[in-house]
Every structure is written in C-alpha cells, then in structure tokens.
Amino acid sequence: MTDAATTMLPAPPTGRAPGPGPGERELPGWLRWVAPIVVGILILAVWIFWVDVLGTAPRMLPSPIAIAEEFVRRFPIILDDMKITATNALIGLVVGSLLALLFAGLAAAARPVDGMLAPLVSALAVIPIVAVTPILNTMFGASSQFGRQAVATIAAFIPVFVNVLRGLRQTRPVHRDLLRSSAASGFQTFRVLTLPTALPYLMTGLRIASSLAVIAALVAEYFGGPADGIGTAIATYAKSGRAALAWAYVLGGIIIGLVFFLVTTLLERLATRRSPA
C-alpha cells in the first residue's frame, strides 16, 4: 500500500513570477491563512452534513465530530503511536535524503553512473510497499523498526534524488560558460553555481519526501514489525468496527505529515528567496 510513496513533483523552484501580473489584483496576505481554513471548514461542513444529517455515508466514514472526540479521549495512546511512526519517518527522511544527495551527486558528475542508476531508480519508484516490506522484514528481521525505516528511506530517496539530479542540471548555459571561462574547478563550479541552482530543487524534493516518508512508514506497519505505530492501530481498529478510533489515528498520521510538511516548506522558503531568474 504505497499510497503516494513515489510521488514527486516536477520541481518548481521559482514558482510564479513575483507579484501579480497586470490585471491580477494583489490579494491581502491574510487570505493565505484564511483561505485554507475556510476551505477546511467547508469540507468539514459537507462531511458532517453527509454523515450526520443525510446519514447516507458509508459506515466506515464516521462523523468528524466523533473522530475529534475519539482523538481527544484517546490522545495519550495515539500520541505514543505517533511518536513511533514519526521517528521511523524522520529516520527514513534523513537517511533517504542523504543517500539521494550522494547518488544524485555521483550521477550528475558521471554519465555512466547516471545511466546505471536510471533504471534502478525508476524500478525503485514503482515497487509497491506491499511487495517490498515483507522482503525487507525477512532480510533484516521483523522484530525491529528497521523494515519500516528502510521503506521510508526508499520513499524519501526517490523524490530527493530525482529533484536534486534535475536541479544539478538546471544551470543556465551563459552561467556555465562564465564559470568555464573562469576556469573554475569542478568543486568551485559546484559551490558557486551548481549548488545554488540546485538548492531550491533539493528543498522541493525534501518537501515532497517529507510526506512520502510519513505515509510510507505508516503503511509499512501493515505488513509486519512490532505491533505499534499509527498504521498498526488504523488496521486494527478499522477492522473491528471502531471506525472513529481508526480515523482518529488517521488524524494523528495527518498531523505528523503536516508537521513534516510545514517544516520542510519553511526550509524551502528560506532557500528559494532568490532563485535563478
């Protein structure tokens, strides 16, 4: 159950042209925060209407109110499981990103490495967690968190690798000419040109990897390892009719994912303040 395990975005380092174009009104900054909240309230309202008023929603989709109640009531045990899953995801994110940086650097430096890695990375990107987790658990032991951390590592590796490799190749011809004409060494070119150009891509990769690491760590729990963590709990309670409790755990998972996402988004913001024009 790989979910978005290999989703990666076509790296958007620069995003929009700064400021609104002609004809586009400048929106007040507070809307940035209010808009998602309003949409969130709308979603909740429709959900509540569907579940509590119409009553036609499937049984496994409880009312958000019930979910919130369960979440508050069971918060201590949910928190314990959140810590486990979050730790696994964090380890996966860090290790996966470091490996991705290393390999992307190698691939960018040497075409043969790039050529050799290409099919392997593509394959890794499409291998379902349901297939890979049992394999890892058998190879590395099912009683530790290792399998989950490894799955999260793979999930994080892919988008970071792809984005960084792409970023490492985004340098503009005129800039490459400049560095070349300055006889800059390979390392200097990397430090002065390649790295600053790739940095926004790295950050984008990290941002994507953050949510993927969380979902991968969570989903891997379905397929073995210690009976703890958010994923184990979701499976357990979804199957024993405790939909609200299961969804309360889902909420816990979403919170972990959001925290990861917000932190990496913040990092990305910092890194892309001035990106290639």
Binding site: D177, R180, S182, R274
Partner: protein
C-alpha cells in the same frame, strides 16, 4: 610566436541543425599580438560571437588550429589567461552586484580584504558604487551590463574578450568606459578582442579593426588604425580618425561612403 595572444589559422565552425548544417565560420585566420586591441565588426549573424566563444574555449572549432599565448585554447582557459564579457550579462541572480563582480577573484582565491577593495574600485569604475548591494533583477539593462564588464576586468587578465559590452549603454557612460578600457588595456598591457557594431567605437579603441561578412562567416578585411597610443577626446575629432572610420565603413559596406555624424 610567444608574443601572440591569439593565433587562429584556418578556423571553421559548423553547427549541425535538423534542417542541415549551418556554417558559422570558415577559414578564419587571425593573429592578435600581446597588448594589441582588435575589434571585430560585421553584420548580425556573421559569426563574431562564435569566434569569441572559440577563442574562449567555450565551443570547439570544427576545423583549423587555434592557439592562445602559444598554447591550446583549453590550456589558456585553465590558466585563466583571459577575462570575458558576454553579449548577455549573465549575472548570477542570487548574488549581489558586489558578489557578482568579485566572483572571478573568489574563484582564484584572492583574499577577502583585497577582494573588497578591488570590488569597490571596479564598481566605481562602472558607476555602480551605490548599487553594490542590489540584486541583478533590481537593475536596469545597462546597469547589468556594466556589472558584467566589471566582472570581466576583475582578475586583470592578459586577454580580454568582450562581446558588444557597451551595446546597452548611453553615450556618456559608453565614452567614459571606452576611455577606461583603453587605459586599463594599456596599463596592464592586455590584449583585447572586442565585438562591436559601432564603427567609431571600433576605430577609437582598436589598433586593428577586423571586418567580417556573413554566410559563411569569414574575415573580409583587416584595417590598421595606426592612431598611436593616445586615445583621448581630441582623437575623436581628428582627421585621421574620420579617415579610418570611413575606411572601415567602406570595407564593411563594400562601396565608398562619405558621411559622418551618425552611429
């Protein structure tokens, strides 16, 4: 031969495109002595930029031989024998004006203190002292080009390659920079290969003006200006100057023209 800054013999460059090959340069023979100032002039698309890129070892010639200070172009590039200013400014957008100017120095390990005096000097020279902390996207087109010029001068190279560096500058700034450039070239006895579209500019600056022609790009004429060392305001009004301008114009247009007072 060690006195030659640039020695090109039978240099040609062909670009392959989907619709066939484009011959950008054929049979270019060019010698630029150390300390000599040579301008390249010619209609748009005649291969001036291409030739400059070959000299800078940013592209490889498809035929002929090319030596810079007696060594292969690649060696010269690695030895940092030249500084270059491109037709587009090519500033690094995440660096301030000062950091852009200082880039070559940084790359060659100049100490920080030395670097900042030099940056201040160069910013002064191109009239951007007030803008050193700005980022490129906050500059006008001409300002960006001036930063690129300062950057090319930073490392005080023995050979300067400049591709229409003054194209987007107003007359006053342009004249000031022309004077500065000749002064700097003379002081550091650097050779300069200078691409321009302005005949008076080419004549004013150069020891020799190389006239090029397109389709295929080649050298059609070389005009010695013989105007001596003195490059000052008086020269701009001398008869010898007008004479040379006319000569270049004729070489360029292929027929005698007598005219003055326009760019």
């Amino acid at each position: 031969m060690m006195d030659l800054a640039v020695h090109a013999a039978g240099v040609g460059k062909v670009f392959p495109t989907k619709t066939g090959e484009v011959v950008a340069l054929t049979e270019v023979d060019l010698e630029v002595a150390a300390g000599e100032f040579v301008s390249l002039i010619g209609p748009s698309g005649c291969g001036k930029s291409t030739l400059l890129r070959l000299i800078a070892d940013l592209d490889q010639a498809t035929s002929g031989t090319l030596e810079i200070f007696g060594k292969p172009a690649k060696r010269a590039r690695i030895d940092q024998d030249y500084g270059i200013a491109f037709q587009q400014a090519g500033l690094l957008p995440w660096r301030t004006v000062a950091a852009n100017i200082g880039l070559p120095l940084e790359l060659h390990g100049t100490s920080k203190a030395e670097r900042s005096t030099r940056i201040a000097e160069l910013a002064e020279l191109v009239g951007l002292s007030d803008f050193v902390d700005r980022y490129p996207d906050q500059l006008s087109g001409g300002m960006q080009q001036r930063v690129a010029i300062a950057r090319a001068l930073a490392a005080q190279p023995r050979l300067l390659l400049m591709d229409e560096p003054f194209g987007a500058l107003d007359e006053m700034t342009r004249e000031r920079l022309q004077s500065e450039l000749t002064r700097i070239a003379a002081e550091t006895s650097a050779a300069v290969v200078f691409v321009t579209h302005s005949i008076p500019e080419a004549v004013f600056l150069s020891d020799r003006v190389v006239v090029m022609s397109p389709r295929p790009g080649r050298i059609t004429d070389v005009i010695e200006t013989g105007l001596g060392e003195q490059r000052d305001e008086a020269l701009r009004e001398s008869a010898a100057f007008f004479d040379r301008v006319t000569a270049v114009r004729e070489a360029l247009h292929g027929s005698p023209v007598v005219r003055a007072g326009e760019s």
